[in-house]
Point group: C2
Amino acid sequence: MNISQIAKLAGVSPATVSRYLNDGYVSKEKKAIIKKVIDETGYSPLASAQNLRQRKSSVIGVIVPKISSESISRVVDGISVELKGSGYHLFLGNTNNNVAEELDYLNLFQSNYVDGVILIATELTPKHMKFMKHYPKPLVVVGQYTELVPCVYHNDKGGARAAVSHMLKQGCHRIAFLGVMEEDVSAGFERHNGYREALKACHIKENPALIYQVDFSITDGYRATQELINSGQPFDGLFCATDNIAIGAMNCLRFNNLDIPGNVRIASVGDSIVSKAIQPSLTSVHLYYKTSGEEAAVIMMDILDKHQSVNKQLRLGYELCERESTY
Amino acid sequence: MNISQIAKLAGVSPATVSRYLNDGYVSKEKKAIIKKVIDETGYSPLASAQNLRQRKSSVIGVIVPKISSESISRVVDGISVELKGSGYHLFLGNTNNNVAEELDYLNLFQSNYVDGVILIATELTPKHMKFMKHYPKPLVVVGQYTELVPCVYHNDKGGARAAVSHMLKQGCHRIAFLGVMEEDVSAGFERHNGYREALKACHIKENPALIYQVDFSITDGYRATQELINSGQPFDGLFCATDNIAIGAMNCLRFNNLDIPGNVRIASVGDSIVSKAIQPSLTSVHLYYKTSGEEAAVIMMDILDKHQSVNKQLRLGYELCERESTY
DNA sequence: CTGAAAGCGCTTACAG
DNA sequence: CTGAAAGCGCTTACAG
């Protein structure tokens, strides 16, 4: 069933059916008969033909490092809700934390399938920069700051600072930090920065012996905590870059018979489901992941539909969720 | 940059470039020169033109009730990994637990964008059946059993039975059940069935006063548990259809100063991150979500690439992960 | 092994 | 307000 057949059934030209489907510059009578035919046949125009002709697909490519991550899937949820409201669809590029695959998708989307790309970014390498500088389609970055294209990012530094300040206020004097790779500017560098700023505000110097770099896993949080304990360095607080790291740390503290928050206070970033569910509940910074997805989609829609291609950098706030682990 | 320009630069016809890109029925010399031109220009053929001509997109539509769910996002992860290996891409239809939107996507994909559809199903209504009966493209269902199209589903009954049998073996006599709507055959009906079968094997009759229906949320798990406690019905075990429900239940038990597992043993289904992280850790049934996604994609690839359209029903196993909450 | 030609199903100036 | 015609960028019989 194609547009010509519909046209024949309705006794009009394909052009008229097309107009009916699009701008609607059609007389009442013809409108009525075309509607009838379309309803009866269940005809819907073939997207690939429309795309070819109009050079537009109403599809947005979304590149994610790992879809089965709580924060990422929340961002995607936000994007999808907003896109749907605007009649757009979502093409998912899941890269399994593989930078090469991320670049592959950026490359693929450059000329295919989608009208614009939302990149949920972890690390922005020089290769990413190159793409961003001359990307032929609208590109919006989520989760990292960049001036090259519009972005929506989180106040990682502020959130971390708030969490650590809160721990200091609760009486911590020696707060260790379990961070992630600094190449991830948001989750690595900025959260470390916030930690440092909070210490500085209390005239405490960062002690390198209390700083550990871990990957994003529960097990590595456990490992690092055990190393910290083994090192003999005294500590009464533990700030973790992510909830998962904190979960591993808590398991390790427990295993070593260290009470939370009695012996060690602990806080982290993410406000995940687990952080509220574990015992003791975990003080954590909420970062509005879903909202960031929605905002990114809004910016994309603005660029696409209103040709408003202002290069805006949107920083979202944070909320410190104080729970039992720091009381 | 299109195929004609490439052809001109290479001094051949567009047909030859096309052949180079596809079957490759081209002489060594021309192959070399075409390769050179393509490498230099970075040309890649426009997907929408190919799709229109070949009536094929190499894209699979994946319909999900909620992408920001741990189990669902794991399934999608599995699908995406497998598809990528076969050169397919993923178009995501997120429906926010809205059956109408689910049907909308089934309808949209019928004639557009994708070569096949993987439906991560919750409830299969008569309208779903209608779609499945005459779907014009390959359709694979994940997470629910159906004979109408190929499906990959979980042994929900077996898993539930194993969990409840284990609780009985641990000494429970009065196990309450917090289930979800029975229209969700897998998570609702079958898990309830498994609970019933385990009781029956021990010659225990199901006591309606110990059966509650809740939604999938933590808060509703809490609510139902409080109702159960308020009812005065004695119980020494609590089997929950999902980990989230169990989390809510555990919080409520704790609030009522009931020890886990001392006063009440508790188990559920999902083996989520939380189930391992909470204190006490939660006995839960692992259901191989990621694998189910991979298997569904494999079936889809078989149908599409090998025209093996056997209507197979694949049931995956389960593993009972016994943890502190039942000891 | 190669090229000219037709056609996939649309949309959009253009002329009326 | 409407239709005939051209064309988006590919691929694929067909003829050579």
